[in-house]
Symmetry: C2
Subunit: 345 residues, 2 copies
């Protein structure tokens, strides 16, 4: 089957990005943000980095259970996570807003209050705001700008064989929060007088509704003298992040199932939802954590002072070894990710 | 009536922008792109500028008569026009794409072919591409980055009393193109076997469907030793552009009806459509031209060498003189713009 005759579904998200890059190579940079790196990099001293996020009602958020203030906060978190994943410092964000006819001034204010709160928490400026009408529900388009020195920048492409794979925080909580909210929505729709079943799940709900970006990680790494060889944001599951990082670095990897950081609250929610927590961790999405690699010798020197919020979960391997998960029963299985088309390997 | 109790419609676009800036001032930059300037400005040498554009199906484009290749081209034109309006050089663009379920790979390719063609024409790089699903039709979010030296940057706020107002190209053509296409759409819907009435209107249709950004204007101005004191993009009509520029500069203005540049083809289409060409020029939208001011003495020195594509249309006045149009019959009338709420004066 000829490549160009594939459907979008067959290509998958990353296959489409690859396809567009290859087809329009002459107008593409060597590095295409989204596919090759988390953000656009521009010359300068310091280097400038910028990222772009599009959030669509019904796809990226559901206003039935998403408070607008949280949505605003989360939108900023999502956008600056791409800047943080370059080991860079975010400076400002701009927002273009598509406002549907059901949206009132009060709702717009709630949304902007969340954006404003995130700007304060992350110490960045709201540098642009352009509203327009929308026929199709609420739409948020955000641009973040940041800076990073030439010495500090961490690319996806910097990983080498034997580097150690580190993950910040924990994985899968946001997906479990989403599933709980979707369950509530179904209960509400069925109009049964059931007691809401969200109690005791505050942690995973917060991770879904108002996630925090890993703002302090670059200064923590500096303090303990660790210079990440590569870094990527975990936005669509750690599997996708690792596959993209290994592709950019021309390597393979091994990651251990029993070393994946999963919070007790996530395990509890997964059990209640009868959802495999491993799948939540690997392919969950919206974790807004960072994955980075450090050379083995830097790890050996510093392993006793690595803080709790960083977990060592595996290592980079030769490309021909592939990208594989080592299960708790010591079996090896290919890492896979939704959106990862066949032609992307 | 308390300000915060107004509706979005009462505030208007610019009133909402003002309101958000005032309400969230502590997280806002002094300069809010969209309201105070065309683009976000960041320190550096050269200065860095970035702009963000959101294009929504049904609001900003209608796929019934918009070829996807043209849409891609126009999206780039719209985005880099904000960079050009800082008297800056665009360097790259990134695109996030919301792809509805009616969109095929071929359609995505057509769109990207237009974006790629624009990148070539404008000598900029496609630096980012992130697709996602959309429930709500095609959505384009673009970010452009550019650079400009501290000496060259032209802000909206730089105009002074007695400065001359200049306009590039001509106004209102794009709106007339839009009205012709909307008329065709109505004919198609009524299923009458009418001959398409687009013949002879190629110019205004091209201005609507595949507008060109004013890429060369900063080098033309340099060549003839004109240093614009202020500049703004004309995207929602020249009236809105002038009102925003005068607000930022703390001035008023006078603009002459009979000096507004309107192409013969626009007049022809307006006549056929029974549309007042003055309204098309003042409030048309999607012109993607530039409005700038030059000090009177610079104008006097250079007036004989100003090229044809630049029209002198009026002058900056004291703030208390207001922003007014001088009609062909020598009457004065307030400049108004849709989206310009009462509280914004």
């Amino acid at each position: 089957m000829e490549k160009s005759k594939k459907t979008l579904a067959q290509l998958g998200t990353y296959g489409l990005m690859d396809h567009i890059k290859n087809k329009y190579i002459s107008s593409c940079s060597n590095i295409l943000a989204g596919l090759d790196e988390d953000a656009v990099i521009e010359d300068g001293d310091p280097l400038k980095v910028s990222s772009n996020t599009l959030l669509l009602e019904g796809i990226h958020f559901d206003l039935i259970y998403t408070p607008l203030q949280h949505l605003g906060y989360k939108a900023v978190t999502a956008t600056i996570t791409d800047i943080l994943a370059m080991n860079a410092t975010p400076l400002n964000i701009s927002i273009s807003l598509g406002i549907g006819n059901k949206t009132t001034l009060e709702m717009t204010e709630e949304l902007m209050a969340g954006i404003s709160m995130a700007c304060k928490d992350y110490n960045i400026e709201l540098a642009g705001f352009t509203p327009s009408s929308s026929l199709t529900g609420l739409t948020l388009s955000l641009t973040a700008n940041g800076k990073v020195s030439d010495n500090d920048i961490a690319l996806r492409s910097g990983a080498s064989t034997t580097d150690i794979i580190c993950i910040t925080g924990n994985l899968g909580a946001s997906l479990m929060g989403l599933h709980l909210l979707e369950r509530e929505k179904r209960v509400l729709k069925s109009k049964q007088e059931l007691k809401p079943e969200l109690e005791g799940h505050e942690y995973v709900l917060k991770r879904q509704l108002k996630p925090e970006a890993r703002l302090g990680i670059n200064s923590i790494l500096k303090e303990i003298n660790i210079n990440p060889s590569s870094m990527i944001a975990i936005k669509e599951g750690v599997a996708a992040a690792l596959l993209l990082l290994c592709k950019a670095s021309g390597t393979g990897c091994r990651i251990y199932e029993n070393k994946l950081p999963i919070d007790q609250n996530t395990l509890k929610a997964a059990k209640e939802l009868k959802f495999n927590p491993l799948i939540a961790a690997l392919n969950g999405g919206e974790d807004y954590e960072l994955l980075f690699t450090i050379p083995l010798e830097e790890y050996e020197k510093n392993k006793d002072i690595i803080p709790d919020e960083i977990t060592v979960a595996g290592f980079i391997a030769d490309k021909d070894k592939g990208c594989r998960l080592i299960t708790s029963s010591d079996q090896e299985t290919d890492l896979t990710s939704p959106g990862w088309g066949q032609n992307n390997r």
